[in-house]
């Protein structure tokens, strides 16, 4: 071998090593350009998506990155049953999502994509000051207050800020309670709550519109001990729950669940569900709304094999936060009923919901009826506001968060 050819070989070797990333890509591109068969199949998550007409150009509904000023909030548009009154509890709360109340009266508000912050609303002589207590968090939608601590859940972690109401101006770094979450962005944001068993309930949504993820990692609600140990799956076949609560008498877990997009304007309906036994399966991705097998994943499956919803809450209506009414301010027919915030659909050409409905239960704990409670936020096929969470205050009034206008409303009753 001549020196020149050795040098050439050496040069090739060096080029090959340094070009490890670039060379295979270039080779693939060269190799497949003439022969690659066209991939004509629709990606799994877009199955059912129309290729023309109004459905073909539907996009998520955006919230403006600047909150609606207090004097422009749609408070006068809100409609409530007789005797109820709505007021602005706090304005300038950009992307207001989850609501919790501290022992000392602080109201905590979470946010999601737009703000990525946790706020504390502090009473200052009847006016609410909005303090940002944490920011630049990854989709911090899930919050819970328990024994002086604020828990915050991102798609990947559960964090805990101790003694939070005494450290609102400088909470310091949180403790990491739990990190064994998948961390996906799609449906990865959380709603969290501590149950009557003292455990923290944490959902993991399906990382897609429709797919069949591993049931042990996704599409379920799990519970953990407050130190992050003892993970146990309590409900399966859950696509994306962003609201749940525990029956004040029986302790049963009830949850809202957002069903798949794109099948139709009117199908499937979103669900209110009731867990009567640990580990029950609620249908996703095989069966929707209790009686409708998925056109892709439902073949060979029977809806009878899954737990049926306790109530249907409307197609694409996006029911999110929900609470049993445990106060005494409202009339007795509301005691033990469930208030549910419906965000309102993006995946429906005619917008509706963006309201709070109330589900009344009978003595056996079955849903007797679902009635409108707070309405008036849909105008010209768009939203003036979009309720996300509800919270029963210690005085029995009801807070409603609105991530579209960036505000929190308070509902009171006087006969």
């Amino acid at each position: 071998m001549t020196t020149a050819s050795m040098m050439r070989r050496l040069l090739f070797l060096v080029l090959g090593l340094t070009g490890l990333v670039a060379l295979p890509v270039a080779a693939q591109q060269q190799g497949r350009a003439p022969a690659a068969p066209p991939k004509e199949e629709v990606p799994f998550w877009a199955i059912g998506r129309p290729s023309s007409g109004p459905g073909a150009s539907m996009a998520p509904v955006p919230a403006f990155p600047i909150p609606t000023p207090a004097d422009k909030l749609p408070i006068a548009k809100l409609k409530l049953p007789r005797g109820f009154k709505a007021e602005v509890f706090a304005s300038d709360v950009l992307d207001a999502r989850g609501l919790r109340e501290g022992d000392k009266g602080t109201v905590f508000v979470s946010s999601l994509f737009v703000a990525g912050k946790i706020y504390a609303l502090v009473d200052q002589g009847g006016r609410r000051q909005v303090k940002t207590i944490a920011e630049k968090l990854m989709l911090p939608n899930g919050i819970e207050f328990h024994k002086g601590s604020l828990y915050v859940a991102t798609p990947k972690q559960v964090l805990r800020y101790d003694n939070i109401e005494s450290t609102l101006d400088n909470p310091g770094p949180p403790a990491v309670v739990y990190e064994s979450l998948p961390g996906d962005v799609p449906h990865g944001w959380k709603f969290i709550k501590i149950g009557p068993d003292g455990k923290l309930y944490v959902p993991v949504g399906a990382p897609c519109n429709i797919c069949e993820p591993s049931p042990d990692t996704h599409a379920h609600i799990r519970r953990i001990n407050l130190d992050g140990s003892g993970m146990e799956i309590v409900a399966r076949g859950v696509r994306n729950t962003v609201g749940f609560d525990f029956h004040p008498r029986t302790g049963e877990l009830w949850f809202t669940d957002n069903q798949r997009d794109w099948l139709s304007e009117d199908l499937p309906q979103d669900e209110l569900n009731r867990v009567t036994k640990i580990g029950q399966h609620f249908g996703f991705p095989y069966c929707h709304q209790g009686d409708f097998a998925d056109p892709q994943f439902g073949w060979g499956k029977a809806c009878e094999d899954f737990v049926k919803p306790a109530a249907l809450l409307g197609p694409h209506a996006a029911p999110l936060g929900m609470r049993f009414y445990t106060g005494t301010m409202f009339p007795s027919r509301y005691h033990g009923a469930i208030f549910i915030a419906r965000h309102g659909p993006w995946n429906k050409s005619k917008k509706f919901a963006a309201d709070v409905v109330v589900a009344f239960l009978d003595r056996a704990g079955r849903v007797r009826s679902v009635e409108p409670f707070l309405t008036g936020l849909v105008e010209n096929n768009g939203y003036l506001g979009r309720p996300v969470d509800v919270h029963v205050m210690k005085d029995g009034s009801l807070l409603v968060s609105d991530d579209h206008a960036g505000a929190v409303y308070r509902i009171t009753y006087s006969p």
Binding site: Q28, A46, S57, A59, P62, P65, G116, K136
Partner: protein
Amino acid sequence: MTRRRAARAAPPSSRLGAALGLLLAALPAAAHAQTFEARLAACLACHGVDGASSIPGTPSLGGQPAFFLITQLFLFREGRRDNEAMTAAATPLTNDDLRAFADAIAKLPPPSPPATPPDPARFARGRAQAGRRFCGACHGADYSGREQVPRLANQREEYLLAVMRGFRAGTRIGYGPAMSEALVGLADEDLRDIAHYLAHLPRP
């Protein structure tokens, strides 16, 4: 115009350096004192006075919807897009500034297709892939964008690719969840084809 020609002739690294230098030089003044026009000129020094950027990695802003522009200025101001220069530029902006800059920049004309024609095979693959992914459902059939959804037509190819890679890797969190869902399962060569197609869309 002279500045843009000079920038085009320089190698990419020094062009980027020059652009950053210009931007940073404009910053202290941007917070106070300067007229709105002067502050806007500092933006357009990099992004292009005619709506078309000639700096690699710096997007063209012409034809972008005002809603999209304000969401991005907001994310930069909040330090939630990974770009120190833009965060520094946006930090002093008030809410009224955000509105004013978004509205002014939205008036710039859309960029033109590049002078060099596309690679026909890549263009065709990109078009097919974008169609299968329903990109045009939100971004518009002509990819001109709307509301919070950006214009993609004739955006710089390497910028489109970098943005898609960021969404796919989860390093860029959008103003909403749509993009992290839309790119699931796409290979890097798919993203390259889509970027090539969108950058080279013919003028409608």
